[in-house]
């Protein structure tokens, strides 16, 4: 059995999708969390391929880049998609989500209060609704984005909306199929367990 060691900051952030995938696949792993203030001293001596975290150590080999790691774990968990085409559709939906995710993160990280309020309004009115309408169209009646079973694109969507609904609570109201996707992810036994047990962090 391979051993997995995930190293990231003590936040959900870029590692949470990976953690959700380990949970959904019921794959044990070491969840190493580094505090922000410790990173500057650890960085030069850490064995990170590109000097950044998260990293995943698999039997001594280190992989970097959060989405590359997530795709790797999704593969191990059988959540990539059944065919090449399904896998490509899952990739495509995740890529499409990342553009919106980037704008959201920029808004959250904005330090200037009035700029942040402006960005928050703009995101909520201009970017989020068309994205949700588009993805409601992509979701199947069965509450899955790809095929007829859970894939990492469902989990990726859930994870992103977990962050977004913290700032925009009613965002998913009325989106029947998207809510079904969310329910499917939340009711996966491994995910349900992780959601109950995971450390509570601001980001």
């Amino acid at each position: 059995m391979p051993t997995y060691k995930l190293t990231c900051f003590n936040v959900r952030g870029r590692a949470e999708l990976i953690r959700l995938l380990f949970a959904a696949g019921e794959i044990p792993y070491e969840d190493v969390r580094i505090e922000w203030d410790k990173w500057p001293e650890l960085k030069p001596i850490s064995d990170t391929p590109m000097g950044q975290i998260p990293t995943l150590e698999v039997d001594g080999q280190v992989i970097c880049q959060s989405m590359a790691i997530a795709r790797f774990v999704a593969g191990k968990a059988g959540l990539l998609g059944k065919t090449n085409m399904d896998q490509a559709r899952a990739d495509m939906l995740l890529d499409g989500g990342m553009d919106v995710g980037k704008l959201f993160t920029e808004m959250v990280m904005e330090k200037d209060a009035s700029k942040k309020a402006e960005k928050k309004k703009e995101f909520g009115e201009k970017h989020l609704p068309p994205f949700l309408a588009l993805y409601e169209g992509f979701a199947g009646d069965n509450g899955h984005f790809v095929g007829d079973s859970l894939t990492w694109s469902d989990i990726g969507f859930f994870n992103m909306m977990d962050f977004i609904t913290a700032e925009y609570p009613g965002a998913l109201d009325g989106y029947c199929k998207l809510n079904k996707v969310i329910d499917n992810v939340k009711s996966n036994p491994g995910v349900a367990k992780w959601l109950k047990e995971r450390p509570v962090t601001n980001h």
Binding site: M50, A68, R71, F72, K76, A88, L94
Partner: protein
């Protein structure tokens, strides 16, 4: 009989070229559709996410350039031999992809001289960081990952081509392993043929 794959993009290299390079390397026929601005505006509403490139195959339309490239890589056996190799290839692509909009932004969309200078400084920094990281991790035999051509080599080649040919020739001299990857792709007979024959494009990027 019509080819199985139909790629639609602008008449440029940019985000369509990695997939074109893949088809070339694999020796797989495809329809290489290049749209004018007007044709794009007309097609846009019927595309999955209102962006190109798109790839049509077996009645399904894919979008998002790297998802398309990864799909074609998988179809043609150029994605990596093991899960680990595929993850390493993905990591190189994710690291390098951020250079694409920065390069295009500076070369195509910036006219003010002062702004150009500032953007160039930031781009140089980004290239140094990213090429530095990739140099550290790259294989030494002319391939980023493992010992054969993978899609990450082609993604890298496409970006490095624009840097060497349009921005700062000689950049790769500081990165010997990456330079070897570049030369290995360039020398691949199918790639060399495609590069010699490919349309110049309506814009050189």
């Amino acid at each position: 009989m019509a080819p199985k794959y139909k790629l639609t993009y602008f008449d440029a290299r940019a985000r369509g070229e990695p997939t074109r390079l893949l088809f070339a390397a694999a020796g797989v026929e495809y329809e290489d559709v290049r749209l004018s601005r007007e044709e794009w505006e007309a097609l846009k509403p019927s595309t999955p996410m209102g962006v190109i490139p798109i790839l049509e195959v077996d009645g399904v339309t894919l979008c998002q350039s790297m998802s398309i490239a990864r799909f074609v890589a998988r179809e043609t056996g150029l994605d990596g031999k093991t899960r680990l190799e595929r993850a390493q290839a993905d990591a190189f692509v994710d690291e390098l992809e951020e250079l694409v909009p920065k390069l295009a932004g500076l070369l195509l969309f910036t006219t003010d001289e002062k702004e150009k200078e500032e953007k160039a400084k930031l781009l140089d920094q980004m290239i140094a960081e990213k090429f530095g990281r990739c140099e550290k991790l790259s294989g030494s035999e002319g391939h980023l990952v493992g010992n054969s051509l993978l899609w990450c080599d082609l993604v890298f080649y496409n970006i490095a081509y624009n840097i060497e040919e349009l921005y700062k020739a000689g950049t790769l001299q500081s990165y010997p392993k990456l330079a070897k990857v570049y030369d290995t792709v360039k020398a691949n007979p199918r790639i060399a043929k495609w590069v010699a024959e490919r349309p110049a494009g309506i814009v050189n990027i």
